[in-house]
Symmetry: D2
Subunit: 431 residues, 4 copies
């Protein structure tokens, strides 16, 4: 295990030369924000409180179907993934949980893993089951295959195996202290005629019901919609409407996740968040960014205003504060150092939360009720155009994390150190 | 009123020289289809039985926001619109009902109108209310305006007027023998912040409930989703999920319509049909075609295979026959003669229905259950690649309509005759 | 003519209570920006220098094909449009030119109009010809029609008339002191088969060559691409590639315009700007914003980061300063007061220019050449996340315009005053 | 090497029971087509003449970034790939060439490979270079990497290696008798700021020029545009305009390829074909089908009418016959047996060509010139709605191939035979 720890003390030392500049920036930003009536202290407190789970499958360099270019020092074990999350959390102060993917993160001693995570200050978020690949451990060395589907497959044995796998993942999650199961059903069709929309849906609903029956009382279970990929004509959880119907069919502990990249072109994602919240079935949000499809690129890199609007809807759900939902970064960057990529993502999330907290929600509602769209736009822009960076940095500092995560990380030499320990040329499990 | 009637006798005379050719084509087509196991007689019967409503607002030349180029002899009154639908139905034998739009089709003697329609062999399909324009009769000469919304408006008086208008339209419909009300809610927003998604939705739901309460027991009421236009950022009935939630909120007689052009890019429309049918809330289908948005171009002109797949889903609902739903052509062609445009649309619908009836549904289901996508594709293509034109022509002939509607229409001199009666240079009400 | 003038003195008086707050904000913003190495003075100077043309057709309330809801006091004459632009320019200091549309803005005494504009501090930007509507003055009272096309029509007489109209517009422009002609060719097709792509293109090229031949030596002529609307299957200037080929065919004074809303879903607009600039044929940019299509909504209201990226490309063309191109706001808002809408648009443009000027272009280029995408992202975000509002306000103040245009406008009572003069209930020419 | 040969005799025997049915179908189809004025003999001749290259990388089961499910008996060597293409060509009579991908198809004795292909009746089509993956043979065991680009990379050594690789592929192609090189440049960016559009383009142009300089005099070289994937924000050959500029920069032997899936949503692909043809730079077409992006699913499975329209444009280029261009199937099906998938693709291509040949091009042009869109639509539909299957089958029969390729293949037991020879569980090279 790596001995490089990015704890508060280390980070403070790495950034000693930045402290003074930060103080001056903080003062100026506070002054500006106060002119707009923003309560800077409350904003800092809210940002400090927020945490978003890190995905165990994004600590290695991601790939596309065209290829994969792994970097140096990718984690070889679940423990090494936890080390990397701990480093990330050291930088951001806002990645206090990690989300595992099984069988990629299968481990023979879950209690020990839980203890190891605790020693790093980490807990386990939602567990993810994987029924989109054939793995010796999940498809019985070829006894069955997920080639033609999993929880919605026509073949009874395949559905049975897929349900069993999910029950197994729940079991592992209990040992880790997790309280949620995320199920992404990859089933669909590549061409018209390949499947019956109705029968496929009914089979998915039946499988989800069976898994729901096995949920511990304090657990939630998440469905997640996506219009295409890996299936190229249709998917069984194609849109939020289908996701909602499946959650309703599964049972009262089922909720729906929203992922930025799982929508058709031009979708109004913030409205999807509002709709699901309205039904009481919004379960959480998967953060990344997208220009074309499920691009899984860095949060905030493509459409930061769209993310701001999503945060406004989340604050609407929480009546001005972030509601308790499952928040996860779900990226698959194939070029950047994975920790830098996740640090930039977390920073973008913190930044956007801070901007959204600047919105004068009462004035906005008043403009809306008065049919005054120009004024409503002024209210939104008054928030989005603010500079909240020093406050976000201050929130991180108060959490013992970095003013400037990427710079601190580069100064720390973390990657070189783990590359020395772990070597290069291998590929971490994940996408 | 026009004296040009396209009745069975007239049309037969116009096509006398085509009869022999038709017989030879019919024979050859039957021979080919029988080699594929198609029951040609049943196919002809099903096509004969099918009818799709004509929209009163598409008998004039449509326009865009950039301009409008009206043609000669556009109908000036509701009666003249009915004359044109009668001519259309004479050509196709499959447009036996007409759908009115109020206040465009407001009339001071509805019983007389009903009688006039009956004299032309026509009945009245779903009534359409219009709350997307300010009209002296519906907005009280400026007392209120639909500028900022209608059934979901923030202003109580606007919602009240919009509900009242719908109740009025129900009343007119009763006098006409209609049994359904189609409500398209144009409300939305042009920019983020302009409205609250949640409050706007709640107001729409409340308005629909009030209208539902006023429905006669044998009536249905339809909601219709559309992601944008005239609103350019969001709409209150943005997608089928929202449409379903609103129909559920309104009451048991509420159903959802699907229109080809009311979807985001790349939407799997046939799956949307399947989903709504599954919930028991599919109310009908609005036929047109689209490449980009709500283009409202001629049915079958852009993506005939997609329409074929929609018909397969409708046949799935009807277990092999067309289910009793509200079918309407909803086009707005700005170049063609409107009657030619509607005749081509109806022909395309009849043609596609015939193709869909060629599908060996049992073999398709077997291939699906056997995870044999290549075979499933073969089954679909065996139907879609057939030549069913002579059977469609035969169905029309047996219904007293034209073998070849466009040619018969051009030969009839109908347009020149009504242009003589009606004159030119005016614009029929509609879009 | 309206007597309400929004001159520097009037505006200063309207905002007297804001001066102190502005000074404090300016100081804080300067301090923050200097910590990021931004040269605040240069930024203010660049913003002061920038001007974007106002479109004469956006001073009335825009409409959609579904309807139009005019507001109070819409301009009835070209002079009243100029009054409104003068008011706008008084507020922003950055709309010093106006772009006319003929025949909407046809006038029988162009020299007098030029003089009147000069008296308001305004000049004339590119002239726009209109061949997408039949107007008595352009289509000879029905002698020809643009229904089936204009500069690319199959009918020789139609093309002839369309060319003649453009020559007429050049003539008018000369009288006004304009030096450019913007040609938007609406020709296309609604269905496959309606036109030959090749023949239609060749006819468009030939017409443009003829117009180019008539250009004064110091004039430019602009083509503008758009994939659809009003044509719904294809257009003759469908994309930047087609626009470039047509400009090359027309002659050396032909350039290509880019409009935000004239692209297919997911288009990388900033790359289109770069490509056209690379060929030496980038002529200008039409500002608005879009979520779905040619939505023509307020600049910066949907995707402010995308606009920021476009400005980066423009600064690339100008090597760090804005290049001399044709900049125009091209909106069609149907809800807001048109002057408020244009003021918000201009403010958004000034704001985005200021943000783009904050980019450390040398560091960005260095990160690009070093294959360091994470660092490149840091450089971009360091600019985009800044608060430049006080500097933009300062630039406006130094230009004699408003710190806060919308508030100053509302305080001024301009709309009520012109509504008193002009009355209500009429619709200004435009879209 | 496999001993299973699908030669004319074998196939005739497999389909002996189908011959009679075919004759009856052929007779009926001829009768029907003659009623529409189609010259059936000429149609059969044109279909017989047409051939489309098979891609060596689609003979194994394709994958997505989420996983791969290989089938039984996938080819292990280039020779086995040729065996599979020979089987395919036996079934269709229309896959007489194969396109190789290097280094996937690197071989140490190219002359022997050429001889082996000749013994199977096959020749070599365009060669494909691969600079989107790091391979020991192309990236010098890690000396360089294509992670951040290839022919447009910022790093000189990377561009050098990428150019060298292409020169090597030309050399191999000469030995095989190929006369074309296909270059797909994967370079792009995942986020705004990662690259300079302009510098990246210039580097790509320079690299292509260098490769062009090395082309034998009778060779062509192809560029191929694609808006995204594997890069998720921008690509250097993003659209046909960029492809054209690069081909022009490279030299006179450079041409542009069009692939169905390499376009933004709603692109008018047939117009892109027309535009490139007009410039004289259309090089060929890559066949597959798509609903969302570069889905690479079976030709004709999603939008058969769109493909029909593309064939109309190709026939326009060839003045009624298929022009001599590079035609290639480029699919990556992950579910079907690869040979069945390619046989269905080829059948769909033959079928669509036959339909396109049914179009009365003179009548279509007349309707276009007469501004008669309704008539133009009638002309198109008269062709698209025909049943040409018996004529396509006859063309195959006359070429010694199968009436019904999928059925004949299944009867032949080919897959089981090669699975016996080759075993299972390995994955063929390719995507």
């Amino acid at each position: 295990m790596s001995t490089t720890r990015l704890d508060a003390e280390t980070i403070a030392a790495l950034e000693a030369d930045r402290r003074d500049r930060h103080q001056r920036a903080l003062e100026a930003a506070r002054a500006l924000l106060e002119l707009h009536g923003v309560d800077a202290d409350r904003l800092v407190d809210e940002v400090r409180e927020f945490s978003v789970a890190a995905p165990s499958w994004a600590l290695g360099t991601g790939g596309t179907r065209f290829g994969r270019f792994p970097g140096a020092g990718e984690p070889r074990t679940v423990e090494e993934k936890l080390d990397d999350v701990a480093a990330l959390n050291g930088l951001t102060g806002a990645n206090r949980t990690v989300s595992l993917h099984v069988p990629w993160d299968e481990h023979d001693d879950m209690p020990a893993l839980r203890e190891y995570a605790a020693s790093l200050g980490l807990r386990f978020d939602a567990m993810n089951s994987n029924t989109f690949q054939d793995n010796p451990s999940t498809t019985g060395d070829g006894a069955i295959s997920y080639k033609f589907g999993s929880l919605a497959a026509a073949d009874d044995r395949v559905r049975e195996a897929a349900v069993e796998h999910n029950l197994h993942v729940i079991e592992l999650g209990r040992l880790l202290g997790s309280t949620a199961l995320s199920i992404w059903i990859p089933d669909g069709a590549n061409h018209p005629g390949q499947t019956s929309f109705r029968r496929q849906f009914d089979r998915a609903a039946e499988s989800l019901r069976r898994i729901h029956d096995a949920l511990p009382a304090d657990w939630l279970m998440f469905t997640e919609h996506k219009p295409y990929e890996p299936a190229f004509y249709s998917t069984v959880v194609s849109d939020w409407g289908s996701s909602l119907l499946l959650a309703q069919a599964a049972g009262p502990q089922a909720r729906c996740l929203v992922d930025f990249g799982h929508h058709l072109p031009n979708t109004n994602v913030e409205q999807v968040v509002s709709r699901l919240a309205m039904t009481g079935r919004l379960g959480g949000f998967h953060f990344n960014d997208t220009k074309y499809g499920d691009d899984d690129v860095t949060v905030g890199s493509i459409a930061p205003f769209r993310m701001f609007l999503v945060f406004l809807e989340l604050l609407e759900v929480g009546d001005g504060a972030m509601p308790t939902l499952a928040y996860l970064i779900d990226q698959s960057n194939n070029l950047k150092d994975p920790i830098e990529d996740l640090a930039q993502a977390t920073d973008a999330i913190q930044h956007t939360l801070a901007l959204a907290l600047c919105v004068d929600r009462a004035s906005l509602a008043a403009a809306q009720e008065a049919d005054d769209p120009a004024l409503a736009a002024e209210v939104l822009h008054a928030a989005f155009r603010a500079d909240v960076r020093p406050l976000v940095a201050e929130a991180r500092r108060l959490n013992g994390a970095a003013l400037d995560p990427v710079t601190a990380y580069r100064r720390s030499g973390y990657r070189a150190a783990v590359a020395g320990d772990r070597g290069s040329g291998h590929v971490a499990t994940g996408l």
